[in-house]
């Protein structure tokens, strides 16, 4: 479970650059050009991603054709939405350097900046 990291990331990256859909063989062939990797490793990685809900698949003949559930842009957008709306559906514990600010707070920030002699808000 722990080793989500590298391989799943690489496989998703390949799928996204293949337009979001591919068979295990296609991903394997692209990966195999720059790293020694077993076909079964790619197969089980994609199966993992399928089970985690990142991919869907259709049976075509003997093989599966996998599709990414979200495009890369959608995935990033969903990530940022989750990051910004803490306490709603996600309970991820994270600390923002600067979180989303209300208008009141922006106004107060300008106020603080203007109070300071010799400096102004940019």
């Amino acid at each position: 479970m722990r080793v989500f990291g590298e391989l799943e990331t690489v496989v998703m990256d390949q799928l996204w650059s293949l337009g979001g859909t591919a068979t295990v063989r296609e991903v394997f062939e692209r990966l195999n050009t720059d790293r020694a990797i077993a076909y079964t490793t790619v197969l089980s990685t994609m199966d993992n991603l399928y089970r985690k809900g990142h991919l869907t698949r259709d049976r075509i003949g003997k093989a599966h054709r996998y599709q990414t559930v979200l495009s890369h842009a959608e995935h990033s957008a969903a990530l940022m939405r989750e990051a910004l709306s803490i306490g709603e559906d996600s309970e991820a514990v994270l600390t923002h350097f600067v979180g989303a600010m209300s208008e009141d707070e922006v106004a107060r920030l300008y106020q603080v900046m203007n109070k300071r002699p010799g400096s102004s808000a940019r």
């Binding site: 803490i86 991820a92 514990v93 923002h96 350097f97 979180g99 600010m101 209300s102 300071r116």
Partner: protein, 323 residues
Amino acid sequence: MSTAVCLLAYSMVVLVIGPPLLSQVTASGAIPRLGITVWVTSMASVLGAWLVAAVLFAVDLHRAWGHIDMLLAGCFAALRTLALGGYGGYLQAGLAVLTALTLVALGVLGARVLAALRRGRIHTRRHAEAAQLAARGAPRGPGGSLVVDAPHRSVYCLAGRPRTIVITRPALSALDEGQLAAVLAHEQAHLSGRHHQLLALTGALAKVLPHLELFTQGSVEIARLVEMCADDVAARRHSGDTVVGALLALALPAQTAPGSPAPALGAAGLGVADRVERLLDPPNRTQAWLYQSLVLYGLLVAPLALAAMIITQVPLCVTAALG
């Protein structure tokens, strides 16, 4: 028995006067670390008082089983006549139910907090994985961070293994080199200060006890103070002005960036103005130290005095009534 009642009374007092008092003495953020200690101590003292009270109830009940008149000899001397009048059995049963309910309630509370912590860990790990996917295995950014394409300027970090710092590309280009270093120092301070564990715990307590301000307001205040702690670390290593510059670079233009409406507030947005203000014009530390220390001693001395009374067997109700 009477000790347990006194402990519960103590917890009530902290629950009622704690939130406004603590908010006030920790407001300036002069010594954020001490402020965090004050909040955490007050939360722990309430939970501790409940736990000890429940244990004392159980012990007393066990010891006095069958001698209900003795059980009631303390605070409830007045009830003794009632007990002797033949209602002892009912009272004893009532107390047994009360004790059982208290213990069950504490058990449920503990289990819920653990469940919330576990959900937090799972969601955090899932988010970290999603962030790795979003970064597409691109080479790590400065400080081992993950650089993600997104419209917002945003920097945040998650604890756990691996520790993750996420920077969006617009944020990366909004910061100059010094500011970026300060931001990374700030995030590293969160990670090495174990701030996430603290926030996970106070967040879980706030979720499980949503009607008790000490925990809900406390978790928000602690989140604010934790940011100030990390600001101080960053400001010591780089300069206060650099941290302010970074805060402004990320806070102000984000509001006007097209196509990215500012999402209405999570707890995360709290206190940016306060943080800038205290970095530009550091508040009085001596005063903050004095007030916060007084509150801290008050919180610690009261239960210790109770404990001393238990040990020395001072008739508690009399003392409590006089005090």
